[in-house]
Subunit: 104 residues, 3 copies
């Protein structure tokens, strides 16, 4: 038995990780998962070419499962408004089917 | 040319990684991918705030591509039954389109 | 306001990371995200059992958001043709909804 939920993915610079998490929590999400990432964006910002090399200039990929699409969009809008004039970032949504919603 | 498959994602505590992999393999999956993760769950369990800081208290995000949805659900059910009374975890499914199924 | 895009995921051996990125860039993608990964594939190639242990034998999960499905498939085909006779790898596509397309 599964039910549909929305996963929002935020890939941005690691230096603003704490601020992004604060927004996620303030907007009511019950949890998040964060993974250290490297990459290169459309503005030519390259960080941490070697993904195994973790450093303060690297990126972070943050995933949040939200019960409603509205919460997902609210988080994305707030993060973009607060940070994406000054920092690189992309956010996208995916539809997922949750199997174990209550234990994490 | 692509064909549909199911991806199961298991995000849980790193200390049970070996046991989760054992279940995945016993239930017939041909492979998995694991990424070190930090995060915070709905029970307030926070681990590895800084995703670049890998440690034994951190989380792991395990992805398994399965040929059938039944196998994906069997893995999720077995992991939950064995571990999720005692450890934090979430599992969800996503539909993906496989391009190179046979080489990994 | 969102629009649909295709995410291509390439999971392969870290030793060919630079070459895969070169293909991604040559085929016109504006960016990518890379995460260090461990795992085991269908050919029994196991690398970096402990996902927190980054090493040269590990895997990498590369994600690329492409504006068109054609670009996603072109990248996958080129990577497979160049590398997947000699290296382990899997590629798959997911449909995503982009919220912030222009800033990363």
């Amino acid at each position: 038995m599964t039910y549909k939920a929305t996963k929002i993915v935020i890939i941005t610079e690691k230096v603003i990780f704490d601020g992004v998490v604060k927004i996620i929590e303030e907007l009511g999400a019950s949890g998040y998962t964060a993974v250290s990432a490297g990459g290169k964006g459309s503005r030519g910002v390259r960080s941490s070419d070697r993904p195994g090399m973790m450093d303060v200039f690297g990126n972070v990929k943050i995933e949040v499962i939200t019960a409603t699409r509205e919460m997902a969009e609210a988080i994305a809008d707030a993060v973009a408004a607060r940070y994406f004039e000054d920092y690189s970032g992309i956010t996208y949504l995916e539809e997922v089917q949750i199997l174990r919603p209550h234990k994490f």
